[in-house]
Symmetry: C2
Subunit: 238 residues, 2 copies
């Protein structure tokens, strides 16, 4: 009993789960979504605050339809919560939430590291080593820049290196921006900078040696450390 027989063309646009990541924003909704997401991650729109469709529509000078669709997308990457007939609010950061998020992250990124050790091309591995060198220069010169952008870039490449589209989408379209939100808003400066670099180095080595099991273990440990570091900031700051 196939109702939609007529529209079954099995058309193939080369769309994959990764589209949103690789493609540039084209529509007005795309741009508004990116602006909103950035404003939320950076804390310009405060965690816990209500998102009024009318207000945002006015502020970004787009129609309410555009705002609604943007909010929907934000909901699917866990940055806002919506309730029918009531509205949306930015998620509230909490020790509990951080813990649960990092538990998931540890599992998924550990897996990504394991798969990356198997599936990354030799070229990609060299690029990764290059990136590490760059980071080393940055760390040596004492810039804090490394913390956010550099770290994100590092994890970003390994996730992509897993070559598992489902995993990539889950992380990069999904929880990764929430991770960033915690990191940015809790402030990622401190003594962990250099330590993290050594951990990164060890992970890259494991991947270079194609030692997938070690890569997973090291990545999991690395994320555990980061989590402890963040938890501490959260409890002392609140």
């Amino acid at each position: 009993m196939l109702i939609f027989v007529n529209i079954v063309d099995n058309i193939d646009f080369q769309s994959t789960l990764m589209d949103q990541i690789t493609q540039a924003p084209v529509t007005s909704t795309d741009k508004t979504f990116l602006r909103l997401r950035s404003d939320i991650v950076e804390g310009i729109i405060l965690s816990g605050s209500k998102l009024s469709e009318a207000e945002l529509s006015n502020y970004y000078s787009v129609s309410r339809a555009v705002i609604r669709e943007s909010i929907n997308r934000l909901e699917s990457c866990y940055l806002v919560e919506r309730k029918p007939n009531v509205g949306a609010k930015v998620v509230s950061l909490s020790a509990q939430g951080l813990s649960e998020l990092y538990q998931v992250r540890e599992s998924l990124e550990g897996m990504a590291a394991r798969l990356a050790a198997i599936h990354m091309s030799d070229d990609e591995v060299s690029d990764l080593n290059e990136l590490l060198k760059t980071h080393f220069q940055t760390v040596k010169s004492g810039e804090t820049y490394y913390q956010e952008a550099g770290d994100v870039d590092f994890h970003y490449r390994i996730i992509l290196g897993s070559k598992n589209k489902q995993l990539i989408s889950l992380l990069l379209n999904g929880i990764y921006h929430l991770v960033r939100m915690y990191r940015v808003q809790l402030g990622m400066a401190g003594p962990r900078v250099t330590t993290a670099f050594d951990e990164h180095k060890a992970i890259v080595q494991a991947i270079s040696h194609r030692d997938s099991e070690l890569a997973e273990i090291l990545m999991r440990r690395h994320i555990q450390y980061t989590r402890k570091n963040l938890s501490q900031k959260l409890t002392t700051s609140v």
Copy 2:
């Protein structure tokens, strides 16, 4: 530089990531989304076919806005793919996709089993044992009903038992319906029914003994078996 100071009330509706799961559909969009999702998972709307907004709007007797929002939600649970200015189509099932999906599933549900062994209340564990008994009756009487509904229910409870909201949302709002789509459309009948029951039993035992590590191992293995079973059907049927 806080632009939205005025709207920062930190209002708390007890909304969580789990809302969509526990709450009944209230709005027209909710209902349409559920109908569409069901039609896709069940294969009434064929995998790979294009979703025309106008056509669906007409078919379900709702406005295009409702259809659009439904399609967006379907995209965030990986059931449809969208391309700007072109449209949406139902995902195509493939051996590659199945493999990648189950790789992720193995990791996440393994984790869920481990956490469930730790966090489930004694009452919930008893309920789980009860469920198992019911399934045993069903299997003994030779009904195939067990396959889909029973199995889903089993995994469902363990996922909820993990008590990790992030994980629960990732699985139940996210990939789980895609998993179901593969299962339903590849047909879940066959000799694995009774075998799967034994595996379920072993998992429940591990959880009952609060042996989290064993629970994880058994769950991962269980999902690996299922995956092999499905892969076989996919390659032989295509």
